[in-house]
Symmetry: C2
Subunit: 237 residues, 2 copies
Amino acid sequence: MFTFRRPKVRLEVPRLRPRNEAAQVPRISLAELTPELLPYLGQAAYIQLSLFESLSRVVIDAPTVAFKQDLGPAAGQALDKHQRLVAAIRREVDDPAAIMQPFAAAIDAYREVITGANWYESLASIYVSAGILDDFFELLAAGLPGGASPQIVHILDADSGRSAIATILTDAIAADPRLGSQLAMWARRIVGDTILITRSAVHLTGNSQSDEQKMEPVLTEVIAAHTRRMDGLGLTA
Amino acid sequence: MFTFRRPKVRLEVPRLRPRNEAAQVPRISLAELTPELLPYLGQAAYIQLSLFESLSRVVIDAPTVAFKQDLGPAAGQALDKHQRLVAAIRREVDDPAAIMQPFAAAIDAYREVITGANWYESLASIYVSAGILDDFFELLAAGLPGGASPQIVHILDADSGRSAIATILTDAIAADPRLGSQLAMWARRIVGDTILITRSAVHLTGNSQSDEQKMEPVLTEVIAAHTRRMDGLGLTA
């Protein structure tokens, strides 16, 4: 779906921390794509709230008490990211809900779409979605004005309890290869919907050729990190 | 349903912090009622997990983004209490899930029973349930062996985001007196089910007269605190 092509330019923005490998990932520029601070924060905060809600559902529906307990901290981390982003909004304006509101309908719809037909699909959705969106918003933060960027990157860079999710998925896939095929197929569907959310987050010029050129290296990097996460689960992205 | 009768004895255990008033609440003894450390922690931890799940549902179903944001921290606090209690279990044994498991079915059933017919009923349930159960387990902690008690009281004594819940309920009741009557009636139903959970948590001798004598002052104090919270909402308990 996306090819891993190495852009020729090296610009000044930070790259994502490589996760579980030392691969060199190219530095890319996102400043022109980053929206104004408040819409950026509003959408990022609502995405974390939505991830929290999805994680709460998998905690509620978890088939065992042990899974509930393993996944609770992941829900807590998404909530913590939400609250820190809300605090950042509140430093600018009094009503964070008004800043998040414009993004609520699209993200609520997205959350419904990525709700799986069963518990493992829903868990895989969260793993795919949180991975891509956290990485994307972290890259996008590089274009934020003033001193906002390092603080936001620090908020989004927290682990998100992903290791607990990965362990549960890896164990289940190892025990049932058919589940692995099913989740690999499901994850591919989720990626498309998730990329749509990333597109809605950027400031586009309306010149589609130019916009594509700017987005491509970002998506290439984000998808490469996603592919590594799928590899880690034993799935083909 | 329960009368507020002042026991004649003053023993050594701490009383609940008076909430919003300086009423003198009698000190009561619970040492004989407190179960062994691990079952105590297992039930308390699972109750907090269950409260977290209920709070997550009201966040998910909240009618406005502002309510979602107000209630998120309450969910986070219940989860935090759960995780700290799990950490206390882990200091004793390797498998906290096994310690919580025996309580899962009864508490899951209780959570279903207290799920309201609408969003405000569910929110009121959480307010009633978290208030009574946190207070009760806090009092019960006084009977724990060794140095466990102060640490557990410290965990349970956190505010639980109750002020955010109280504000939402108070505003809604003030705006719609019919809702107030409905919630007052609903809260009375919830109290009975919640008291059943407290009874399942204590170590009873089987001598029902003696057991009632021990339980009564505890329940009196817990219900008095509950009544003050209902008064605070403008409801008759």
